[in-house]
Subunit: 693 residues, 2 copies
C-alpha cells in the first residue's frame, strides 16, 4: 500500500535534517504532473471549502457541465468536503472557454489554457473545451491539505502540450480487459493530460469488437469476451468527454489467428483454426493474394470506420513471419507474377491496398513500423516500436510518426528510463525543425501477456504518468528526482479515480500468503516482495516454470509485485548518499543498518509461510539471497565503522555473494543487489566513507 | 492495509518458538467464521485447481445456479485460478438440495447443511437452498493456499444456526448509503451467514424510500437521496439470492421530521419543517390524535407492504420525547378524554392502532423496546436496544424478541465485547426453555451519524462477523483468542467481495497527510493512527470541536482509524505475556522494546506533517502522549532488565503520565495506555517479570 518501511531514508526529509533545523514550513513544491509549460508562483493561497463554486462563461456545452461535475466529484474525494451544486453569485473558479472544439476531436486541436489562482478566486481561460478540461485537472493537482484547511497555492500557469499525440495503447486481446477498467484508465489519462486511447482490439488470442457484418469474428474469436458496439460507443463518448481520441487497431495481416477461427478463408494456410492460447509470433497470416480478402476487409473497415469516429484507423502490420506465405504455392506464384521479390514486398502490396480501403472510407492509416515502405502515400502515421531510428527515417522522408519504442510498459523499465526517452531524441535529434514537426508524439503500450483485470492498473500506473509528462512538458523538463517526487504524489491522487495500482498489491500478497497468515508473516512477505521486480524485457516467457498460456493463473509473486521497487530505489539513493556525502554519515549509516538488519532477519521470519504456501515456497532462494546480501551490506558497514579499508579477499568473497544474488530466480530480480555492490566497493576502496568524517 | 508492524509479536508464532522447534507444518486451524455446529477433521485435502467443477442435484432452481456462479467468481478471486464453466462428468463438488424453500423467505426455515470434503471430492447436502448456499460459503472459507496449490482440508461438517433471526441494520437516513454499497454489505452478510437486512429507511434526517402514493415524502424529505422502488425491488431480489430477508423500517411516531417536510399535517406541532441536519432526539412527532394520521399511515403501509414482501414490518417507535404532544392542547385533551395518563400510554394507543393497520395488510410488526406494552397482541417482535432485561421481560410474558443491545456497531466496542453478549444471556438466562425459544436472535446496528460511503464498511467489518458467529454458532463457542485469529482471516476474505474495510484506511490517511507527503511521513502518521480509537459510546457529539451536522466532513483522523486497534490489542497481549510468562522473556522484552522505541521516536517524525496539515495538527497532543507513554514503558523495561523493583515515587510519576495519556484528545483514545500501566505496575511490584528468569 505504498507507505514504505520504517527507517527508509527519504531524501528530502533527510536533507532537512542535514541542514540542521531548516524550517519544514518552506514553500511546498507543486505536485503537478505533467509539469506545465510555465508556472509563476504567487503569494498566499485560495481556500477550498464547501462553499467552493465554479462558473462557466463564454462558450458552454454539456460536456463542460459534465467536466465540472466530474471536477467536483474528484475534489470531493480528495478532500471529503461536501459541495452543494448551487450556483454562486461570486464563483470561486471561473472557467472561460472561447469556442467549441471539433465535433470529432482532431489531432492538433488547441489544448492550451491559462490558470490563475489568487487568494480571492481562480480563473481558467482556454480557447477550447480541451484546454479548459486540462486546466481543471491542473487545478485538482494544485489542491492540497494546508495548516488551515484545503487550499490551492496562488500561481499563474500558462500551459500547452509539446506534442499533439499523447497516447496509451492497451492490448485487450491477450487478456480481455472489461469496460469499467478501461474507463478508470481513461480517467487516469485525463488526469495526466494524455489525449489518445489506442485500443488494440484484435490479436491471435482474441477478436474483441462486435461485428454485425461478420459476427463469427467475435462470436468464435473471443470466448465470449468482447465489447458490443453499444459498449464501444459508450467508451468513445466517455473518452470524448475527457478530451481523449479513440484509435482502434485491427491488426493484420499477421497476429490474426482469432479472425480465422470463424473465417478460415481469409488465411494463407488451410486451417481449421483455434484461438491461440500461447504467446509469441505465430504463422497464420491473411492471404494477400485473394481478392476475397480485400472484399472482406473493405466491408469490415466500412463497418468499423462508421463505429469509430476518429480520423485515424490502425491496421497493425507487425511481426508477420511469412511462413504460411512461403508454404502456399498460390502465394509464391502471386509473388512471382507480381514481381514481389520478398515477403516484405508482398506485405507492402497488402498495406497499400488496405490503405486505399481505409482512405476510401475517409480515414487515415496508422501502422506499426512494418507498414512503412518508402513511397507509400504520405497521409500515414508510422508507430515506431522497433527503435527511434525508424521514426527518424520516416520523418526524413516526410512521413508522420509517433514513438512507442522506449514506452513499452510491459517491459518492466523504471519510470526514469521511460522518462529519458524523447520522441525528438536519438536519431530524431538530427532532423531539421520541419522534419521534427512530423513527429507527432508518442504512445505508451500495455501489452497484456502478463496483465489481467487484477494487476493491469499497476502495470500502467504510476509509470505512465512519467511518459505523459515527457509528451506534454517542455523538452527541458528532465530532472529525475523531481519526477519521482511528483510521481509519488500523482500516484496517490490517481487512487481517488478508483485505479487499483496500489490496493491490488497487499490483496495479492494476502492471497499468496493465505488468509490464515498472521500479520507478522505478511510483513515478512511484504518485506521481500517490496525489493524484487519481475525479470525485464522479453525474458518472462523463456524463464517461465511452464510454458505460459492465456489460462495460466497470474497469482505468483512475479505477478503481484510492482514493476518498479520504490524501496530498492530509495535504498540505492541512501547508499549513494552514504558513499559520497560529507554530512550526516552517522544518521545515514544508522538508517542503512536498520534496513539491512530487517532484510537479514527476514528469511527466518518468512519460513512459516514458505512451509505453508506453494506461492511463497517458490521464492525461497530469493529470500535467502536477500538475507545474504544484507549480511554483506552489514559487514561493509562494520568495516567502515572501524575506519579501515576491507581486505581484498573479503571483497572478492562478497562480490561472489552479490553475483549469485543478481541471478534471477522465480523470474524475480533482487533489486538492492547493485546498491550493496556499490557499498562494498566504496568500503573496500577505503572510500570517501571513511575519509570525510 | 492490515499488514501490521515489524516486530509485533503474534502469539501463535511466538508460542511455536517458545516450544523450541515444533514444526510449523502442524495441521492449520480452520479459519471458519461462524464456527459450524460440528466439525470432524479428516485426513488429506481436496485439491482446488482450474478443473474444479460443481454439480447441482436434487431440487434445482435458478437461484442455486446463480449461487454456484457467485461461488466460482469468489473462488476465482481467492485463488486467481480461471475456471471454465463447463459441466464435468465427475464433478469436484456435488450440491444436493432436497426441496425448495418458501417463495418469500420466512423466519425459521431450515438452514442446515452437511458438507463433507475428502481428497477425491466434496459433497453438500441440504434440505433447502438456504442450507446449500450456507454450505458453499463454508467451502469457500475452507479453501486455503497449501504447499502444493490451493486446497480444502478433508472434513465433515454438520451445521445449522442457533438462532433463526441473524441480522444487520443499516441506518441509511442520517447518511445516505448508495445501493452498490448496500449490495457489497449483503455479500458480506452472506459470507458470515446472516439472514436479515434491516433497512432503516426513515429518520428526522431523511425519508429514503420512494413513495408513489405520497411522493412528497421522498422528494421533499431526502435531498434527492433516496431509493426508487425499482432499486428497492432490485435489492430485495439481491438479498433473496443470498438467503437474506429484507425488513424495512419506517420509524414513527418520533424520528420523523423528514416526513413532515412534505406532510406537516401529520405532525403534532405547527411547522413548517425542514430536514433535520443535526444529531440527537428531536421534538417533532406524529399527531396520534388525528384520524387523518391513521388514514395516511394505512395508505403508506398498504404501499410499502406490497413493495417489501417480508412478513415483518418495522414501525420503529423509539425515543419520542413527547414535547410536541405536551405543547398541543388538542392532544392533551385527547389524553384526558381517552384516559391516557402518560405519553407512554398515548404511544401505546398509537402502537396498537398502527399494529392493526400492519396486521390488516397481512404483516407482523417489529418495533423497538418502546412499542412493548404488556397486553399488546402476541404477534409482535420486540427489538431490544435498551438492554437485555427488556428482552427477558418480554419473553417472560410470551413475546418474541431480538437483541440489539450490545450489538451497536457505532459505539466503537471491540469485537470481543460484542462477542461476549449472548441473546440468551443476562436476565434471559433465567427464562424457562420455552421462554428462551421466544428469543429469535439478534441484529447488529449501524447507526450512521459518523459513517458515510467512504468509511461505513470499516465500521461494520470485520467486527460484525463476531456478532454473526454469536448468533449462528453453539453457545459454547466463546474462545476470544480463536475468535480474533479467525476474524483476522475472515477480514482478509471479505476483501475479495469488494468490501473496503481495509483499503479505505491508507487512502484516508493519505488525504489527511496530503498527496505530497513522503513515505516516511506517511509511516509516522500510520504509526500513530494504528494505536488510537475514536471515543466510545455516545461521547462523539459532546466532544466534537464544533456541533456536528450531516454536512460535517468525515475526513479527520477520528473518521479514518478503525474502531478497534489491532496493534494496541496485540501489544497488550505481549505485555501480559511478558508480565506472566516463564518463557521467552528476552525475546518478548526485545519485541516490546522495539515497538516502544518506534512509538517514542514517532512524535518527532510526525512533526513535518503537523506543520503542513490541519488534520494532522489536530492530533499533536495525542502524538506527544504516545511518545511520553512509550518512554514510560521503556523505563519500566530498563528497571526490569536491572532486575530490581522500581521505586514508589517513580511509579507515581509514571502513572500520572499514563493518566494524562488516557484523557481523550481530538476525540481519540490512546489504546496502549492500559497495557503500559500494567507493565509499570508489574515492574514496580518487582513482579513475575523479574522472578521467573
Amino acid at each position: 500500500m505504498g507507505m514504505g518501511h520504517w527507517g527508509m531514508c527519504v531524501i528530502g526529509f533527510t536533507l532537512l535534517l542535514c541542514a540542521g533545523g531548516t524550517s519544514a514550513q518552506e514553500q511546498p513544491r507543486l505536485n503537478l504532473m505533467p509539469l506545465p509549460a510555465n508556472v509563476q508562483l504567487g503569494s498566499g493561497s485560495l481556500r477550498v471549502d464547501s462553499s467552493f463554486s465554479v462558473a462557466l462563461t463564454g462558450h458552454t456545452e454539456a460536456r463542460l457541465d459534465r467536466a465540472v461535475q466530474r471536477f467536483f466529484r474528484q475534489l470531493s474525494r480528495q478532500t471529503a468536503l461536501p459541495f452543494s451544486a448551487k450556483a454562486s453569485t461570486k464563483p470561486t473558479l471561473i472557467v472561460h472557454t472561447d469556442h467549441a472544439s471539433k465535433e470529432v476531436q482532431e489531432l492538433g486541436e488547441d489544448e492550451s489554457y491559462t490558470l490563475s489562482v489568487a487568494a480571492d478566486g481562480a480563473k481558467i481561460e482556454a480557447p477550447t473545451p480541451l484546454g479548459a478540461m486540462h486546466a481543471l485537472q491542473t487545478f485538482l493537482q494544485l489542491v492540497e491539505v494546508s495548516p488551515d484547511g484545503f487550499a490551492a497555492p496562488a500561481a499563474t500557469i500558462q500551459d500547452k502540450p509539446r506534442f499533439p499525440w499523447r497516447g496509451l495503447m492497451i492490448d485487450v486481446s491477450r487478456h480481455f480487459i472489461p469496460l469499467d477498467i478501461l474507463k478508470r484508465n481513461l480517467d487516469g489519462l485525463e488526469a495526466v493530460k494524455m489525449n489518445v486511447f489506442h485500443w488494440h482490439l484484435s490479436e491471435d488470442q482474441g477478436f474483441r469488437a462486435e461485428s454485425k457484418k461478420f459476427p463469427k469474428l467475435h462470436t468464435l474469436g473471443s470466448d465470449g469476451l468482447y465489447y458490443t458496439q453499444d459498449e464501444i460507443r459508450e467508451l468513445i463518448a466517455y473518452a470524448r468527454d475527457r478530451g481523449i481520441r479513440v484509435v482502434p487497431e485491427f491488426d493484420m495481416p499477421g497476429h490474426s489467428t482469432a479472425w480465422f477461427v470463424g473465417h478460415p478463408e481469409l488465411a494463407s494456410g488451410p486451417g481449421p483454426y483455434e484461438i491461440e492460447r500461447k504467446w509469441g509470433i505465430f504463422d497464420p497470416a491473411m492471404d494477400l493474394t485473394n481478392e476475397k480478402t480485400y472484399k472482406f476487409l473493405d466491408e469490415l473497415v466500412a463497418e468499423m470506420t462508421k463505429l469509430f469516429p476518429d480520423h485515424y484507423f490502425h491496421i497493425g502490420g507487425d511481426e508477420v513471419n511469412g511462413k504460411q506465405w512461403d508454404a502456399n504455392p498460390k502465394i509464391q506464384e502471386f509473388k512471382k507474377s507480381h514481381k514481389l521479390a520478398t515477403n516484405e514486398a508482398l506485405q507492402a502490396y497488402f498495406s497499400e491496398r488496405v490503405q486505399k480501403i481505409v482512405t476510401k472510407h475517409g480515414k487515415a492509416v496508422v501502422g506499426w513500423d512494418e507498414v512503412f515502405i518508402p513511397g507509400v502515400p504520405k497521409d500515414i502515421v508510422i508507430q515506431s516500436w522497433r527503435g527511434q531510428a525508424s521514426l527518424a527515417q520516416a520523418a526524413a522522408q516526410g512521413y508522420h510518426g509517433i514513438l512507442s519504442n522506449g514506452y513499452y510498459l510491459d517491459l518492466g523499465w523504471p519510470a526514469a528510463r521511460h522518462y529519458a526517452v524523447d520522441p525528438a531524441g536519438g536519431q530524431a535529434a538530427n532532423l531539421t525543425p520541419e522534419q521534427q514537426q512530423l513527429i507527432l508524439g508518442g504512445e505508451s503500450c500495455m501489452w497484456s501477456e502478463y496483465v489481467n483485470p487484477e494487476n493491469i492498473d499497476s502495470r500502467i500506473w504510476p509509470r505512465n504518468a512519467a511518459i505523459a509528462e515527457r509528451l506534454w512538458s517542455p523538452q527541458s523538463v528532465t530532472d529525475v528526482a523531481s519526477m519521482y517526487a511528483r510521481l509519488h504524489a500523482v500516484a496517490a491522487q490517481l487512487e481517488w479515480l478508483g485505479l487499483t495500482h496500489r490496493t491490488y498489491y497487499p490483496q495479492m500478497l494476502r492471497r499468496i500468503a493465505g488468509h490464515g497468515a498472521t500479520p507478522e508473516q505478511l510483513t515478512a512477505l511484504r518485506t521481500l516482495a517490496d525489493v524484487v521486480e519481475p525479470v525485464k524485457e522479453y525474458t518472462r516467457e523463456a524463464t517461465a516454470p511452464a510454458p505460459p498460456t492465456s489460462a495460466t493463473p497470474l497469482n505468483r509473486i512475479v505477478d503481484a509485485v510492482p514493476l518498479e521497487s520504490d524501496v530498492a530505489r530509495r535504498f540505492g539513493e541512501l547508499v549513494d548518499k552514504f558513499a559520497s556525502s560529507s554530512c550526516c554519515d552517522a544518521d545515514t549509516a544508522a538508517q542503512l543498518r536498520a534496513q539491512l538488519s530487517a532484510w537479514r532477519d527476514n528469511d527466518s521470519r518468512l519460513q512459516p509461510l514458505m512451509q505453508r504456501s506453494f506461492l511463497v515456497k517458490e521464492v525461497a532462494a530469493t529470500s535467502q539471497d536477500l538475507s545474504a546480501l544484507a549480511a554483506v551490506g552489514l559487514a561493509a558497514l562494520d568495516f567502515e565503522a572501524k575506519g579501515g579499508a576491507a581486505p581484498d579477499d573479503w571483497k572478492t568473497q562478497q562480490l561472489a555473494v552479490i553475483e549469485q544474488a543478481k541471478k534471477p530466480k522465480a523470474q524475480l530480480l533482487l533489486m538492492p543487489a547493485p546498491a550493496i555492490q556499490r557499498l562494498v566497493e566504496a568500503v573496500a576502496a577505503g572510500g570517501s566513507c571513511g575519509t570525510t568524517k
